[in-house]
Amino acid sequence: MTRLLPLFGFLVLVGLFGFGIWWNTHHDQHEIVSPLINKPAPAFALPVLDEASRTVTKASLLGKPYFLNVFASWCIECVHEHPLLMTEMKQLGLPLVGFNYKDDPNEATAWLAEHGNPFDVIAVDREGRSGIDFGVYAAPETFLIDAKGVIRYKRIGPITPEVIDREIRPALAALAKETP
């Protein structure tokens, strides 16, 4: 009987690993539960792209829900999601705030000139300090922040049409229900 103990121990591990694989296939890799969800967005005050004298702050954006999209000219995936930002995301009717992350402002401007600029205002986080406060894991990321400045939804990785339909629209609907 004792000779079988290692085998039983191993079977417990197998059960655990099987569960691990099952869990991973049923949970989106990008769905890391951010500790910031339903918490106030971190305060920030960042220069506006191409208007160095102006700053955009958390306070100045309060009063209306908005999307905050983390992008950079060096980010390959950002190119893939960009057409969606230009079209479907704009049609959702919320302001789109760009968050230019760890990027050279000149290159960012050139990048936007090439691919189009969907953003209402662009904050420049050259050093990535505010990015750390936001828990930015990798560009692109998209946050939905409500009128009170609370983060309601976060997407890590590029936005896809499915993400818009299955995650972003429901999040917006939930938001609309609260504020009649």
Binding site: P6, L16, I21, Q29, A72, W74
Partner: protein, 660 residues
């Protein structure tokens, strides 16, 4: 065309591996000399084709063949040639090919250096290795083929993960794999013994040098990985208890236990079942490590792409290999392995206790590594345990091992005498206490540093006193046979390692500072003068390079150049600058400019003074050397050692009864 040749080579290797895995084992069972004789040529053939596949992949990288998706993903035109070679194992598919490649290095070596073993036994060993090869080759061909084409061919490729663009990375993975794939040999010996039966002392003697060499490689691999994390990651730490590190550390801990258990079984015939079980565990943990790293169950947000199909495949493979071998153990061990008894005060007991400590430590690391998974399974959310858990429990488990270690050589096999032990304990104890008291004056109340000195002197003095005893009592030429020299080297390594860990952990000074060009900051008795930042470029990166002069008493000792590199694909990577010394390291890492636009202005800098940190790796190298030296023991190679020959004659005609 060439990449397709690589794929054909892999297919042929798979077919030969199937032949190698099935025919010799059947032959040994049926006592069919023709089938037994298939083992060596099949192993050589598999080796040739796997080496060819590896050569083709390297060639594809060297010739910028971006039509191969794996090459396009992991290299580009600007990447220097040596990193294009390293890029071969820079991602999943290539790592798996490297795994099989190393497995074949071991198989071919075993086929070449096993002429003195009974043919039926070698046939079983090579057969088991062949079956392992089948599993991995099929895995590569069906889920992780590195030769897949990407059409249309991109003009330029992606980039090798910049973290991996470091000289340390060129040899860390192959060496590490030499270690944990090497445990497959001890595993195959155990399975062969379980299948064949009835010769425990002989097979353990044959397995010992292979196990020692594998363990020594694993030690070197872990040391290299730790050094690389220290030099490259920019945090100045040397061990982080992350899942990938733990994956290599668990087989190492079990390997320590295995090496010692093998000595007991070989010399005294005791604990054979335990030795077999440990061989199974060591290799199982190696496979488990591969699974954990590659399947993505733990590292689902990690850099390696994870594919559930791969995870399922490896899990099925684990069930067959580990489950099958443990089942075989449960059925066969009672018949095959019957150990001799020993007295409570004996070397056997000492090794047994140490074995329990090391295996418990490995289990503790496994539990900690799997904690996030357990948390998910029990619906507790993603919980993970970090360095506090590992640090506390590991020290708790290793402290008794350190305490017992100097007694080891003094303990006699079978039955030990108490008075020699007390003499040794008295000497080493007094030396340790005196050194600890002296250290207390220098270390100014750092308890860990004082305990470290005390522990290291205890181990060191105990080992040294045994060296002196051998020198006095034994005739010249028989004082330090390789096996004993290896043991003494490795135990000395423990003492050195203890000093490194305890002193660097307690006495290091780490300071994050803001410095204007020309400003000076004093850390650990050295003055760091920041002389500004210059721009510099490499083959595929540009960097801000800080210039920091290290002064002591106004004299310049060194000028250091920490870098912050931006690779052509935009990834940022810190290259710390290290001024190394036997007694201290000075470590400078460049942070961020205080004003984003003004690189000529003030910067955030990280300045470390780390006394004795190098002893950590030095101790590891001693342990490694111990493993290699012990493997060179002449007794292991003796063709006609009396007991081996006697044991072999019992086995050569494997009867059907022994397999029932």
């Amino acid at each position: 065309m060439i990449p397709e040749l690589g794929q054909f080579a892999l297919v042929l290797a798979l077919l030969l591996a199937i032949a190698q895995g099935v025919l010799p084992i059947v032959g040994a069972w049926r006592n069919n000399a023709a089938l037994i004789a298939v083992a060596r040529p099949a192993a050589a053939g598999q080796g040739v084709f796997v080496f060819a596949a590896m050569a083709v992949l390297i060639y594809a990288f060297l010739t910028y063949d971006f039509s191969v998706a794996y090459v396009a993903d992991n290299s580009n035109l600007a990447l220097p040639w040596y990193y294009r070679v390293t890029a071969v194992w820079g991602a999943h598919e290539g790592s798996m090919l490297l795994w099989v490649f190393i497995l074949n290095v071991w198989s071919v070596a075993l086929a070449a250096f096993s002429r003195h073993l009974p043919p039926a036994f070698v046939a079983r060993v090579l057969g088991v290795l062949g079956l392992i090869g089948v599993g991995f080759l099929a895995f590569i061909l069906f889920t992780s083929n590195p030769f897949l084409r990407e059409l249309p061919m991109p003009a330029d490729g992606g980039d090798l993960n910049p973290v991996l663009q470091d000289p340390g990375m060129t040899f860390h993975p192959p060496v590490l794999y030499m270690g944990y794939v090497g445990f497959s040999v001890a595993f195959a010996f155990s399975i062969a013994a379980l299948l064949g039966g009835g010769m425990e002392q002989a097979w353990v003697r044959w397995a010992r040098p292979w196990t020692n060499v594998a363990w020594a490689f694993l030690t070197l691999g872990i040391v290299a990985g730790s050094w690389w994390a220290y030099a490259e990651l920019g945090w100045g730490g040397w061990w982080f208890w992350d899942p990938v590190e733990n994956a290599s550390f668990m087989p190492w801990l079990v390997g320590v236990a295995l090496i010692h258990a093998q000595a007991v079984t070989e010399k005294r015939g005791s604990l054979p079942a335990w030795t077999i079980l440990l061989s199974l565990f060591a290799f199982s943990l190696s496979l488990l490590g591969t699974f954990l790293v590659r399947s993505g169950v733990l590292t689902s947000v990690h850099a390696f792409a994870s594919d559930p199909r791969r995870g399922l495949y490896i899990l099925a493979f684990l069930i067959i290999v580990i489950g099958g071998s443990l089942l075989l153990y449960a059925i066969r061990a009672p018949k095959v392995a019957t150990g001799k008894a020993f007295a409570p005060l004996s070397r056997e007991t000492g090794i047994m206790v140490a074995n329990l400590l090391f295996t418990t430590a490995a289990a503790m690391v496994l539990l900690g590594t799997l904690f996030p998974l357990i948390g998910d399974a029990l619906n507790l959310g993603r919980v993970s345990v970090g360095p506090p858990y590992f640090g506390f429990l590991f020290v708790l488990l290793m402290a008794p091992a350190v305490l017992l270690l100097p007694f080891g050589p003094y303990l006699r096999w079978g039955r030990a005498e108490g008075n020699q032990l007390t003499t040794m304990a008295l000497r080493a104890g007094i030396a340790a206490v005196i050194c600890a008291i002296v250290a207390a004056f220098f270390a100014q109340g750092h308890l860990r540093a004082i305990a470290g000195i005390g522990g290291a002197v205890w181990v060191g003095a105990g080992t040294l006193s045994y060296v002196i005893k051998r020198w006095r009592e034994m005739p010249r030429g028989r004082r330090f046979p390789a096996e004993m020299a290896g043991m003494l080297l490795a135990h000395t390594g423990v003492a050195i390692f203890l000093i490194g860990v305890m002193l660097s952990e307690s006495l290091s000074v780490e300071r994050d500072v803001r410095l204007e060009p020309g400003q000076t900051e004093s850390v650990g008795g050295y003055d760091f003068r920041f002389d500004g930042v210059e721009e510099t470029t490499g083959p595929n990166w540009r960097a801000d390079e800080g210039i920091v002069a290290i002064l002591r008493d106004g004299k310049t000792l060194a000028t250091m150049h920490p870098q912050k590199r931006t690779y052509s694909r935009g990834q940022v990577q810190t290259e710390s600058a290290i001024d190394a010394g036997l007694f201290r390291d000075i470590y400078v890492a460049l942070g961020e400019p205080m004003e984003a636009t003004n690189v000529k202005g003030a910067w955030a800098l990280r300045l470390y003074h780390k006394p004795f940190v190098r002893w950590i790796w030095l101790g590891g190298l001693f342990m490694m050397a111990g493993g290699f030296v012990a493997a060179a023991e002449r007794r292991f190679r003796a063709k006609r050692a009396p007991s081996a020959a006697a044991a072999a004659t019992i086995v050569t005609p494997p009867t059907k009864a022994s397999l029932a």
